[in-house]
């Protein structure tokens, strides 16, 4: 501390230092001024000191003779100063002077102080703490630079005041200054305390209480600064273990000095930390401090998940996980995610707690939360080799029991044979167990059993949440149908479905029927039972289908289950899909998972899907229709009989099965009789404006019925969709019309070129005409709307006028 105080005092002394030595140089200066007398008067106004110093520096570089002088000066100076001086000259930022509005050159020497101190602390830190100090120094630096800048300004102001000696202004400025000075001094104190703490936490631990005191200030800025700097300090000085306060017995025991010191450090640290966390939790209720407090909580939780009071930190963070404030929510979510991803820091316990807390939260808020709060589950990771932690554990235990029984039986036999052997075995096993226990205690690696237990707990909490959301979605909608005004929106459903899809391989078989049931209900959107109507979007329902398939697929135990209900739902959902409104990638994923990945299909169903997809690729956007056509191609390749659809004559009769006529509005794909129809859509799609769609339609239509080549297109619908939708952004259809025409030109050589070009022209003309007409139409529409608005306004004003007249009349009557 003492050292630093010295440094604080020093810098103001430096400027007066300069003139003493500069006598000779001023002579030079005088000479210079004499030469340019015109400017002399102007120069007299300037602060000669700084300028002379500046000049002297230049001179120093130029003339070797002056170096001697400088050396003398250096010798005169104290060692401490000596250290500082080179630092200043070397530092590029500080070497540059600041010019005040009055034209004075001001050397930022004050700025050096805190940095110098910090550098020292850095050195101390890097020895003691190592890697984790980088972030801290950043925040500290920010703090310090701010402070130094303000101080510089202050000094400039003071000098200004001196220059213009007017009493009134002085008073005013002084008033300002006292407030500002107080603030500055507090800031400065914070920085000093913080750096001292970082330099030697064990001996300076008392300072933390002072910092806490400062952060109780009335000034919100100071409080924020205090909180932030405390975070930095705590992050750095808190040890990598959990502190357990010594019991009374332990306190009574005699201990060495070091241990005493350590205990004191730990206890003060713990109490300060406790106070700080409580303060943060309290402060986050206030709107002013909310963001700061939450941010502090998040950084603390992220950096120190192993330390005491994790529960309160977690509780506070989880509480804010679905906050209305975007910034706060994002902070909390990021923190929880990082908590989930690096389990190593806290050994998985925090994960379990967090997941349980979120589950509680979902329960408490009745599933009305922000989707982000469930999305964090997606970053959870379960060991693959643990696979289904819930059941296998049981199984293995059973196996163990069995094997133990077997062993016991063997042992009994052996015991009969030889008791000595058995004794030796027991001894061996005992010693082995002891060694194992010792190893466990010594090794940092987690026990696999413990890990398994932890993960299964987490998993059960996660699935509990998921199932709660699903159940809520199913139940609440039935309520909503009874009260039509309240539309049951399900903010959590989409992330929940994603989560179930992701962890589908971990779901217990016993839950499967219920899960499938509710998924089916949601996907069906109440189409079966007319009195129920679920207000779900098409994408959500598609997601339900996808999840059902994923769940089934990952749980296939050599049993190929045909999810007919979901196919029916999907078949009808294709009708309800709207390119702009719904998410195309979900549709593409559904196409991929349901139609392409599934191995077998009924012929009827495949045909129905082929027909429907082909007809709807006519009215989808190009990307969606591309995905649909890829699926169609895939289905046609797999199902030989469906290639009858490509033939010119409608099959009907025996080929089409029981239904002789194609029924496009049939709900069940099996009842649509699509085999009796012809894929005429392909001919239209060949003229599609997008060349990719065009080409795939061509390739499908040339597929041969007799040829049984088994070649599979490797492009999945999802991939095709993403490719094309990305292309679409840079793709201008108008330019492609020409391309299409070019193709036509190539295809039909006998057509005269002139006609084609005319057609081109006509196309362009048409486009212009259409554009004009559309423009007119929309103008008209807008006019009509404006008219309506004006009219309603007019009506309102006339009404109010009338009312006012009536009111006046009444008043008059009363007065009479």
């Amino acid at each position: 501390m003492g050292k630093k105080k010295q440094k604080v005092v020093l810098p103001p002394e430096l400027p007066p230092d300069v003139p003493d030595e500069d006598i000779e140089v001023t002579a030079e200066d005088v000479h210079f001024i004499n030469e340019n007398l015109d400017y002399a008067s102007y120069l007299s106004n300037l602060d000669t000191k700084s300028i002379t110093k500046h000049v002297s520096r230049v001179a120093d570089v130029n003339e070797g003779a002056l170096e001697l002088l400088y050396e003398k000066r250096m010798r005169k100076k104290l060692d401490g100063k000596d250290k500082e001086q080179p630092g200043m000259e070397v530092d590029p930022v500080d070497a540059l002077p600041v010019k005040t509005p009055l034209g004075k050159l001001y050397y930022r020497r004050v700025t050096k102080e805190p940095k110098e101190g910090e550098e020292e602390s850095k050195e101390g830190d890097s020895i003691t703490k190592g890697p984790s100090f980088v972030k801290l120094t950043k925040t500290e630096k920010r703090l310090n630079t701010k402070k130094s800048r303000k101080e510089a300004k202050k000094q400039a102001k003071e000098e200004e005041v001196l220059q213009i000696p007017q009493a009134e202004v002085l008073d005013e400025v002084k008033k300002d200054l006292t407030a500002e000075e107080a603030r500055e001094s507090k800031k400065y104190k914070l920085a000093v305390l913080g750096t001292s703490l970082l330099a030697d936490p064990e001996s300076n631990i008392k300072n933390i209480k002072e910092m806490l005191e400062i952060s109780k200030d009335e000034d919100s800025a100071i409080v924020m600064l205090g909180l932030k700097s405390l975070v930095a300090v705590f992050k750095d000085i808190i040890p990598g273990y959990r502190i357990r306060l010594p019991t009374e017995k332990e306190q009574e025991m005699k201990v060495s000095k070091d241990v005493k010191k350590m205990r004191f450090f730990e206890s003060t640290l713990l109490s300060a930390y406790k106070a700080y966390v409580q303060k943060l939790v309290a402060l986050q209720q206030q709107t002013v401090y909310k963001r700061v407090a939450v941010r502090c909580l998040c950084t603390l939780l992220e950096a120190l998940p192993h330390f005491n009071f994790r529960e309160s930190l977690l509780a506070a963070v989880v509480k804010n996980i679905s906050s209305q404030d975007d910034v706060v929510r994002k902070f909390c979510c990021a923190t929880i995610k990082s908590l989930f991803t690096d389990n190593g820091k806290h050994g998985g316990e925090a994960t379990v707690e967090a997941v349980k807390m979120i589950a509680e939260l979902v329960k408490a808020y009745n599933c009305q939360l922000h989707p982000d709060s469930i999305e964090v589950f997606l970053s959870l990771s379960f060991d693959e080799d643990l696979g289904r932690p819930e059941k296998p554990v049981m199984n293995k235990r059973g196996q163990n029991n069995k094997s133990k029984k077997k062993k016991d039986a063997d042992d009994q036999k052996q015991m009969l044979e030889n008791e000595r052997k058995k004794n030796r075995k027991e001894m061996l096993s005992k010693t082995r167990e002891e060694v194992k226990a010792d190893f466990k205690a010594a090794s940092f690696a987690q026990d696999t059993h413990e890990r398994r237990r932890m993960q299964s707990q987490t998993l059960s909490a996660v699935f509990e949440t998921f199932f709660r959301i699903l159940k809520h979605a199913v139940e609440s909608t039935s309520e909503a149908s009874s009260v039509p005004g309240t539309s049951g929106s399900h903010p959590l459903l989409a992330p929940c479905l994603n989560g179930i899809g992701k962890y589908s391989h971990l779901i217990d078989m016993d839950f499967m029927p219920d899960l499938m049931n509710s998924l089916g209900k949601l996907a069906g959107n109440g189409s079966k039972s007319s009195e129920k109507s679920y207000q779900l979007t098409v994408s959500e329902r598609l997601r339900c289908c996808i999840v059902a398939f994923k769940v089934m697929k990952s749980n296939l135990d050599a049993l190929n289950v045909d999810l007919h209900d979901f196919f029916v739902q999907f078949y009808n959902l294709i009708l309800e899909y709207r390119p702009g409104r719904d998410q195309g990638d979900v549709l593409a994923e559904a196409l991929k998972i349901m139609l392409c990945d599934d191995r077998q299909h009924d012929m009827q169903r495949a045909a129905a899907f082929i027909k429907r997809l082909a007809s709807f690729s006519l009215c989808f956007g190009s990307a969606e229709s591309m995905a649909a056509l890829v699926t169609v191609k895939h289905l046609l390749l797999k199902n030989l009989k469906c290639r009858n659809l490509l033939e010119n004559d409608a099959g009907g009769g025996s080929v089409a099965g029981a239904i002789a006529k194609y029924q496009p509005d049939a709900m069940d794909p099996n009842r649509s009789g699509a085999l009796a129809s012809v894929l005429w859509e392909l001919n239209l799609l060949k003229k599609h404006y997008h060349p990719a769609v065009c080409s795939i339609a061509n390739s499908i239509s040339t597929m041969n019925t007799s040829n049984n080549q088994v070649y599979h297109s490797h492009v999945s619908p999802l991939q095709a969709y993403t490719d094309l939708s990305q292309l679409d952004k840079s793709f201008a259809p108008s330019s492609d019309v020409k391309k299409g025409n070019n193709k036509k030109r190539k295809g039909s050589d006998n057509m005269p070129v002139k006609v084609v070009s005319e057609a081109d022209l006509i196309d362009q003309m048409d486009e212009n005409v259409v554009r004009k007409k559309l423009g007119e139409h929309f103008f008209l529409l807008r006019d009509i709307q404006e008219n309506e608005k004006l009219r309603s306004e007019l009506d309102r004003t006339t009404l109010s006028l009338n009312l006012y007249d009536q009111y006046k009349k009444q008043k008059k009557r009363k007065t009479r």
Binding site: M516, D562, Q600, Q604, N670
Partner: protein, 188 residues
């Protein structure tokens, strides 16, 4: 030949409903026949003739009235018969009708088709594919992997239980299979 009375109708419909579920509507109401001189498509109905139930189009019924009851051997498609006790049984001839409207299906692996056609039950090991949501005692139509209907029967296990079974467990109890056309030629 006569229409079914009320008890008989419920018996027949119950049996059919077990296999086709809500698709029963398709069989009874929506199915349209384009036979006969009428330009308007006629409906299909059920008729009883010598304890056997037939699924016949209206125009055929009109023409069949010309034949004496004792002399009439068969008309339309036979779908089942009433036993002497008065219970209704679906016969193998109804397979096409059931297969087109089936709610629950089971696909057999090619290796186990033969065994089923000899009159055995469907085992878990022979199961190629199965629709979800089958409950115990639901009516199930059995297909080959290439979607040829082979027969029908009762589910012995639900889809969920099927997963946990050992491969020798029975999944579907056989009612009828197309092997009967050879084995029981005289009875049909």
């Amino acid at each position: 030949m006569r229409p079914l009375d009320e008890n008989e109708t419920t018996a027949v419909f119950n049996k059919l409903h077990k296999f086709v579920g809500n698709n029963l509507k398709n069989i009874v109401l929506d199915a349209q026949s384009n036979e006969g001189p009428d330009s308007k498509p006629g409906r299909y109905c059920f008729r009883l003739q010598k304890n056997r139930v037939y699924y016949v189009s209206e125009s055929l019924i009109k023409r069949a009235t010309n034949v004496k009851r004792e002399k009439l051997v068969s008309l339309g498609t036979q779908i089942g018969k009433f036993t002497k006790v008065g219970k209704f049984q679906l016969t193998i001839q109804s397979l096409n009708l059931l297969a087109a409207n089936a709610k629950h299906k089971v696909w057999l692996k090619p290796t186990s088709e033969m065994s089923f056609l000899y009159g055995n039950s469907v085992l878990k090991g022979g199961l190629g594919r199965i629709t979800e949501n089958i409950q115990v005692n639901d009516g199930v139509v059995v297909f080959s992997m290439s979607d040829v209907p082979l027969g029908f029967g009762d589910a012995a296990k639900s889809t969920v239980d099927c997963r946990k079974m050992d491969p020798n467990g029975i999944v579907v109890h056989r009612h009828a299979d197309i092997g009967e056309y050879l084995r029981m030629e005289d009875d049909l």
